[in-house]
Homo-oligomer: 228 residues x 2
C-alpha cells in the first residue's frame, strides 16, 4: 500500500467510510460451508495490528481456531452461558432464548481476542491500568469489524462464556483473559439494523441524550436499571 501520511481524504472517500460505519453490524447469521480467503485474513490482521493502544502496549493477541473439536468445545461453553444468562434475566427468559445470539457453528472463521498478561506499561495508564488496556482491545476489534464489512464479510463478537473455561481450552497463561469469540465469514445478507433492535429486544438511545456540554447534566444523575 502507498504510504501518504499527509493524504487529504476526499468527500467521496469520507462518504464511503461513513457508509461503512453505518452498515457495520454485529452478525450472528453466516453462510454455512463458506470460507475466508487467505489474502482477506492477512488484510484483516493488518487492520487489527494498526489499531492504537495505550502507550503502544498492544495488549492483545488473536487466536485462530483451526480444530473442529476446539470450536465445538467453545460452542458448548457459549451455550452453557446462554442458559445461565437466560436464568439471570428472569421475566425476559423466554424472549431471550428466542434470540439468535451467536453464529459459532456456521461462521467460516472463529478467532478469539485475548487480553495479554499485563506487561507493566505505565505510559497513559498509571491511574487507569485495567481500563485503558480493555479500551485498547475494543479499538482492535472495531478495526476488525470495519475491515470485515469492507471485505463484505460479517463479524460477530460473542462474549457469552465463562472466561475460566475458555482460558483452560486455549491454555491461556495467568493474567491473560479471553474477551471475545469472533465469528467471521461470508453471510447471505447483512442486517439493515442492529439485530437486537430488529427483534425488539432493545432500542438505541438517541445521540442527543449522549452528548453534553461541560458537565454531566442534572437530569441524568442516576442510571435506571435495564434488565436486558
Amino acid at each position: 500500500m502507498q504510504h501518504r501520511p499527509q493524504h487529504q481524504f476526499s468527500p467521496e472517500e469520507r462518504a464511503s467510510v461513513y457508509e461503512l460505519m453505518a452498515l457495520r453490524r454485529d452478525t450472528r447469521h453466516f453462510k454455512a460451508g463458506s470460507r475466508v480467503e487467505p489474502e482477506q485474513v492477512q488484510r484483516l490482521l493488518q487492520a487489527a495490528h494498526q489499531a492504537p493502544s495505550v502507550g503502544l502496549s498492544q495488549p492483545w493477541r488473536l487466536l485462530r481456531i483451526s480444530s473442529p473439536e476446539l470450536r465445538q468445545a467453545l460452542a458448548l461453553a457459549v451455550e452453557r452461558e446462554r442458559q445461565a444468562t437466560a436464568e439471570a434475566l428472569n421475566e425476559r427468559r423466554e424472549e431471550f432464548l428466542r434470540l439468535k445470539v451467536e453464529g459459532m457453528q456456521d461462521c467460516a472463521e472463529l478467532w478469539v481476542i485475548v487480553l495479554a498478561p499485563d506487561d507493566g506499561t505505565l505510559f497513559g495508564r498509571r491511574t487507569l491500568p485495567r481500563e485503558m488496556v480493555l479500551a485498547s482491545v475494543g479499538c482492535v476489534v472495531q478495526n476488525l469489524w470495519l475491515a470485515a464489512r469492507a471485505e463484505n464479510l460479517g463479524l460477530g463478537w460473542v462474549s457469552m462464556f465463562d472466561p475460566a473455561e475458555v482460558a483452560a481450552l486455549l491454555h491461556l497463561p495467568a493474567g491473560a483473559l479471553a474477551l471475545g469469540l469472533l465469528c467471521l465469514g461470508p453471510v447471505d445478507s447483512f442486517y439493515p439494523a442492529p439485530m437486537l433492535e430488529m427483534e425488539g429486544w432493545r432500542h438505541a438511545r438517541p445521540l442527543d441524550e449522549m452528548f453534553y456540554t461541560d458537565r454531566w447534566p442534572a437530569h441524568e444523575e442516576s442510571a435506571p436499571a435495564d434488565l436486558s
Copy 2:
C-alpha cells in the same frame, strides 16, 4: 446518507478504508487557533453513535468542553499526572519528560469520553461485566479516531489524569468514570508513524508475534515487564 445494507464495497473503497486505518495517528500537535466546523462535529458524533456496544447498552457519554477555565483545569490535571508518571518511570524519567504527551492547549475541540454508570445490562456481559463496557467504549473512540482522520483532523486520546479529579470538575455522578480527554482539531501535519516510535520510546510488536493458532504458545508463557 443512503441506506444500502447489502452494499458490496469495491476494491477501491476497501483500499481507501485500509489507507485510513494506516494513516490514523494518536495526535498531540494541533494547529493553534483553528476550529472544527459544526457539520464536522455532527458527522463525528454520528460516527461515535454508530459504534457497537455490548447488548446495545451504549455505556458511554461525550462531554464537550466549552469553558476555557474548565479546559485549563483539565490541562492542569494532566500536567500533574504527567509529573507523577515521570516519577514512577524512575530511570526513564528524563526521557519521558521530553516527550510531548498531549495537545490540550492547542486543539480546536476538547471532548471527554465517559463510561456511564452501570445500567445493569446482562446481555453479553453476565460473566465479564466491567470488561465488556470498557471494550465498548474503545469501539466508540476508534470510530471517532477514524472519522476524525477521514475529516483530515487529528485526534489524541489523553489518559494521564486522576479520574477523581476529572470527575469532580465535570460533576460526574457515582459510577461514571472519565476514560479519556479527546483532543481534536486541525493539524499542520500528520505523523508518518506512531509518535512513540518516531521518538524512540517504544517499538511495536510485529503481527506474527500476536496471531496464534488454537492455543497460547508455550514460548509466550509470561510477559516481560516493560517499564514504559
